[in-house]
Assembly symmetry: C2
Homo-oligomer: 314 residues x 2
């Protein structure tokens, strides 16, 4: 919001706002994990990400819609200095943020989630076979092994392996990165059993993922935020990027905990000290609230870097 206000105060008319955030692993903790990802946020929300309301955004004044089963294959690549490449998939409804940010007539607004490249196409395998569904109960879920679980989404055949059926169904090569990622999660293991009674597919999947995607005491997480602005001054187009990378300490002192917790704590302190006097439920989109919070976050090592760029549209 600070950048939006600054651009406006310098006479700029905002044409484009893209905003991506990811809760990820710090590079040194990615190790041999082919997903380069672990849960640093509510696991259930990660499994259900994108389900429910369809994705909608606006690009060059054209409304765009993405159904859930296509979401994880419509990613953008984003490079961040010193941290390499990421991919972003769209968050559900970017349109409602137009009024929140006071950008009612903006031609392009897009909010997304960052992962390391390759995450989306591997996660898409779960989406495609249907095992992120949370709307029905699997018969006999308590007795299902990981392998049974995956097999329940594949056609019956008494001879073919679950692996082959999956690869054929999703047109995956045997040596594909997607298969490597799936195998690493032990989803084909006939000896592991989530053991959940009356579970939905999404609950079973979450349970399987927890075995491999739970932070260990050695893991360090990382928050990446990346905002891209396009704006017009005197009919000339300009670009600006604002990004922030924060690495965490040992769990539970994660970057996720800090970046979510500090702003709330600072705001609470400001209310108690009488610095914030606005009543009722407020979004931190006005300068009197966001500026002192950003100032104090800077003293805690959380600060955005700003870079003027060329205008780079859609």
């Amino acid at each position: 919001m600070k950048e939006i206000d600054q651009i406006r105060n310098s006479g700029g008319e905002i044409q484009l706002f893209e905003s991506f955030t990811g809760g990820l692993l710090a590079p040194e903790s990615e190790g041999k994990n082919p997903w380069k990802y672990k849960f640093t946020w509510n696991p259930r929300n990660v499994v259900l990400a994108g389900r429910g309301t369809p994705v909608m955004f606006i690009q060059e004044n054209k409304y765009k819609y993405i159904p859930y089963h296509r979401l994880f294959r419509r990613t953008e690549k984003i490079d961040i200095e010193n941290y390499g490449r990421f991919e972003g998939y769209a968050n559900r409804d970017s349109l409602k943020y137009r009024s929140i940010y006071g950008l009612t007539d903006i031609p392009t607004i897009y909010r997304g989630t960052l992962r390391r490249p390759g995450f989306g196409s591997a996660w898409d395998a779960f989406v495609q076979i249907g095992c992120t569904d949370d709307s029905y109960i699997l018969k006999g879920s308590e007795e299902m092994s990981n392998r049974d679980f995956i097999n329940s989404f594949l056609a019956y055949n008494p001879h073919d392996s679950v692996e082959l059926k999956l690869m054929h169904y999703l047109k995956l090569d045997q040596d594909s990165d997607v298969i490597e990622k799936l195998k690493w999660l032990d989803i084909f293991d006939a000896n592991q059993k989530p053991g959940l009674k009356n579970a939905t597919p999404a609950q079973m999947l979450e349970c399987i993922l927890m075995k491999k995607w739970k932070l260990t005491p050695d893991d360090r997480d990382m928050i990446v935020m990346w905002h891209k602005f396009g704006y017009k001054i005197n009919n000339e187009l300009h670009g600006r990027e604002a990004f922030m990378v924060l690495e965490g300490n040992e769990p539970p002192y994660t970057a996720m905990a800090k970046s979510v917790g500090y702003p709330v704590a600072i705001a609470a302190k400001m209310i108690l000290n009488g610095v914030i006097r606005t009543e009722g439920i407020q979004l931190p989109v006005t300068k009197d609230i966001y500026q002192p919070i950003l100032d104090e976050l800077k003293t805690l090592g959380i600060a955005f870097r700003i870079k003027e760029t060329e205008y780079n549209g859609y």
Copy 2:
């Protein structure tokens, strides 16, 4: 139900029951329509077919689940004497029919819908891009042309055509049957406008389809029902098929109207004449109800043909 009772009364233990029904066009009315299909049933239900609850069935005692976005590509081929080849996709919940038919422990039960081959993979194009969604309102739907509508599901690009973006997105060859079917529906037409206010994608699609899929006075429809049974007598496996094809007269005297209306009319007459004396809401699964109805349907030209076959499992 009659076949189920007969197999049981002759000492057979039912192992498999597959049941497919389709409301289609009579062969002479298929003409140059590449879909070989028009609406002979509630158009809205056809557009929304398979949405909502996921598909579930059981095959050789293994529960199987198909998500909506895969449904129209997991079809079976079915050949019917004198009428050629059809394809069937699964109906939503086949499992609940186990108790209705008294087949609680049956290893395989599967209910489906029949179309002509190629329908499923072309319909899947609509499913894949997301235009059968009925859960949200398209912004500015009233002003959208058919082409705008399709384009709203495709990535923004100021140069590429809607046709090319769609083909690339869905990995379709330019000369594919799917593209032929889509073009025949005028979905790329920039001059046709459904003109619906606050419409969902599914409502827009229905409106576009109505232009081409509405029965004309010259069209004749056709109902196809095909049941396959597998059963065991003294540990020996047997198969049986029961099928019925009914062609309609000029609309509204369609095969759909006859096959849905006659049984209800006959049942009403039987109630009025005191032949059916059971009270309350009844399913026609008991012989005292179905036998006289089937007998009278025969006099109206609606009769199943029965064929003993080899056992032919999954």
